[in-house]
């Protein structure tokens, strides 16, 4: 069994091994904790020039990644929280995303920017933002959001080898997820993955939401409701053909997202599906997302903040106009609501 974090680490290891132009850097990359285990021992293996720590200079380090890319390298830059990357929006949006375009297609910027999405244990307003819709809105960026441990490595390898800047969003609650499938091949970006099949509702999910959705869908199945569960994997480019095909079959769409609701990725998907699948729709497209306010620090204020399997199951029931029991979900709930599992005891 491999953890999601190990799969990320192995992906970096493999890329560093097979391509001497790959560089890995970020705050804490070579430290004893190795960014939640995802970069452990890489500096020892590949040296200080290719794998290195950095100053708390998120904007410059993004520009430095761009420069190194123009100089022939493939940098992978890591931010321990997406929130810190807000300091680098100028380099990311004005330079990385546009370099290929604004110089007439002469050069491309093959950088991968890993950003970790925080949640729970008092991460609070500035350690828990999920701004995927920001990145997806910017032409020239790709946005990858792995959910399954078995996809993590393949998606990371594709991101590293992609000729464009790729934002790779890793949910902190997934790092400990286990898989017995180990990927060896890159998984193409822009291809969603159908995880469960059914004709009741098309459920589109990303990142950690897919874990909750899997619980919900399995419980619904026991109650005779079968859904298409599609893990998007890549938010930009979006796999519209797979989405449209499913919605044309089910006529019902539920989008799950970890980000704020309004002006988020769910709205775009709903709008697009309304444009393209209008005549197939039996029900207005629906969404379950984080609300339009920040995650608080106090555990008392995060209980109902995040979408969980029971919310998904209820929503599907509502959309199917049938009653659904969420009891099997609630009775399986293990750890406190603000930790990913009993293995997590804080502080970060």
């Amino acid at each position: 069994m491999q953890s999601f974090a190990n799969e990320i680490r192995d992906g970096l290891d493999q890329a560093l091994a097979e391509d001497p132009t790959v560089l890995v850097f970020g705050l804490g990359v070579p430290d004893p904790k190795g960014v939640f285990g995802t970069t452990l021992n890489l500096q020892e293996k590949y040296g200080e020039k290719r794998v290195f720590d950095m100053p708390t200079s998120e904007n410059a380090m993004t520009g430095i990644a761009i420069g190194a890319a123009l100089g022939g390298f493939k940098p992978v830059l890591t931010h321990q929280r997406l929130d810190f990357a807000l300091l680098s929006m100028d380099q990311l949006v004005n330079n990385a995303a546009k370099w290929h375009f604004m110089f007439g297609g002469q050069r491309n910027v093959p950088i991968t920017i890993r950003m970790i999405l925080g949640r729970g244990w008092g991460q609070g307003p500035t350690h828990s933002q999920n701004l995927q819709s920001w990145f997806a809105h910017i032409p020239g960026l790709k946005v990858v959001m792995p959910a399954l441990a078995s996809d993590a490595k393949g998606l990371l390898l594709s991101s590293i080898y992609d000729p464009n800047p790729v934002i790779f969003l890793e949910h902190r609650w997934l790092h400990n997820a286990q898989t017995d499938v180990t990927t060896v091949e890159p998984i193409p970006l822009g291809k969603a993955k159908l995880l469960r099949e059914g004709d009741a509702v098309t459920i589109l999910s990303v990142s950690y939401m897919t874990i909750e959705a899997l619980h919900a869908v399995d419980v619904l199945q026991q109650q005779g409701i079968n859904c298409d569960l599609i893990d998007l994997r890549t938010v930009a480019p979006m796999d519209w053909p797979t989405i449209e095909q499913s919605v044309k079959k089910t006529g019902r769409l539920l989008v799950l997202d970890t980000g704020f609701k309004s002006f988020g990725i769910a709205g775009e998907i709903m709008a697009h599906v309304t444009e393209t699948c209008w005549s197939s729709l039996k029900h207005p497209p629906a969404r379950l997302t984080a609300p339009d306010y920040s995650e608080s620090t106090s555990p008392a204020l995060t209980k109902d903040y995040h979408v969980r399997a029971e919310h998904i199951a209820s929503k599907i029931g509502e959309m199917m106009e049938t009653s659904v029991s969420v009891e099997p979900i609630l009775s399986q709930r293990g750890p406190a609501h603000d930790v990913p599992g009993n293995w997590f005891t804080g502080p970060f």
Binding site: L27, G28, P30, D31, P32, K33, F52, D53, M54, P55, T56, S57, N59, A60, D83, F84, L87, W121, G122, Q123, G124, P125, T126, H127, P291, D292, Y293, S294, S296, T297, S298, P299, A300, L301, T302, K303, D304, Y305, D338, T345, G346, P347, F348
Partner: protein, 329 residues
């Protein structure tokens, strides 16, 4: 040193130490459910500046702010309650350990993004300048903050407008597990780099509370006199892991000799042994201070634990402030 000052400094350090060590002790109860950065070992700078600032002076800080909040006079009960996520917390449980505030005593806020409050502090200083007071703003910062662009931008503006700001840097040589050597050129020390801007800079031993007190007294007086911003660098040593309650020197990221040297220079003992020798403190004084502190800290934890959690409805509150339009004119 006057007995009064000696007591103030000893009390300031002991109070911070006791609070931090009590948090460390109780963190494993899993009731303080937020990232928590302790200042054990780094008490001297806070205690010294706390003895110099007035309540009407302002301060801002970052992720490791307990000591700064307490030194500025922040309400201990409200801080512990905040860490416990209670509605009686200084931010009603919204912010936790990394978001402390007590405007009643001029502690204007600490936040979790490295460097994030530096320009906020400079903006506060701009408001003091406009209001023509002789109060100052103290911006607490760690050694990593000087790597951020916003620090330099802020320094430039503070210098340009000759603002009453003290940039107070506690250099503990590490940012999380990363030594200075992987983050900053060793050609110059931090205060030397900053001195290029032409502002007053000075450095000192951040574990020597008397020395810190002397430097900050002099510097703050200069700022009040209109000399403009100053930058002070004090070297010091963090006892425990970057974030959390444990010791982590088994990880080996700090050289043994470094740890030993600093442990030999524990700030409270260092100060009190001198003060006892020179007679500005007696053992009775110390015992009395400590027992008062212990009562206070115990009460604060009791207060926090007994307090209510915020009602679930508060999760969605405070997103937008209500319009004050009506009150205009």
């Amino acid at each position: 040193m006057t007995p009064e000052l000696a007591k103030t400094l000893s009390h300031g350090m002991r109070r911070i130490r006791t609070v931090e060590e009590t948090i460390a002790e109780r963190y494993s109860d899993q009731e303080m459910r937020c990232p928590t950065h302790l200042s054990s070992g780094q008490e001297a700078v806070s205690a010294a500046i706390g003895a110099v600032l007035r309540p009407s002076d302002l301060a801002v800080s970052g992720h490791r702010a307990h000591a700064h909040y307490l030194a500025k006079g922040g309400d201990l009960n409200a801080m512990i309650a905040e860490i416990y996520g209670k509605v009686t917390g200084c931010a009603r449980g919204k912010g936790g350990s990394m978001h402390l505030v007590d405007e009643a005593v001029g502690f204007m806020g600490s936040t979790a993004i490295v460097g994030g409050t530096v320009p906020v502090g400079v903006g506060l200083a701009y408001s003091l300048m406009l209001n023509e007071t002789d109060d100052i703003v103290c911006i607490f910062l760690g050694d990593a903050v000087v790597e951020t662009g916003v620090f330099h931008e802020s320094l430039n503006f503070a210098t340009l407008k000759n603002l009453p700001v003290l940039f107070l840097c506690e250099n503990n040589f590490y940012s999380v597990y990363s030594p200075l050597s992987v983050r900053q050129s060793h050609m110059r020390q931090i205060h030397e780099k900053v001195s290029g801007f032409g502002i007053t800079t000075e450095d000192g031993d951040g574990n020597d509370v008397a020395a810190v007190h002397e430097i900050v007294s002099r510097t703050v007086a200069g700022i009040r006199d209109g000399n403009g911003p100053a930058f002070l660098e004090f070297s010091t040593f963090r006892w425990r892991e970057h974030c959390g309650p444990n010791y982590d020197d088994d990880l080996g990221y700090r050289p043994d000799q470094f740890i030993e040297d600093w442990n030999a220079r524990e700030p409270i003992g260092l100060f009190e042994s001198q003060a006892l020798a020179e007679g500005s403190l007696t053992q009775d004084d110390i015992d009395a201070l400590q027992s008062g502190i212990e009562d206070e800290v115990k009460a604060a934890f009791e207060f926090a634990k007994a307090s209510d959690f915020p009602p679930a409805s508060e999760a969605s509150e405070h997103v937008l402030a209500a319009s004050m339009m009506g009150s205009l004119k």
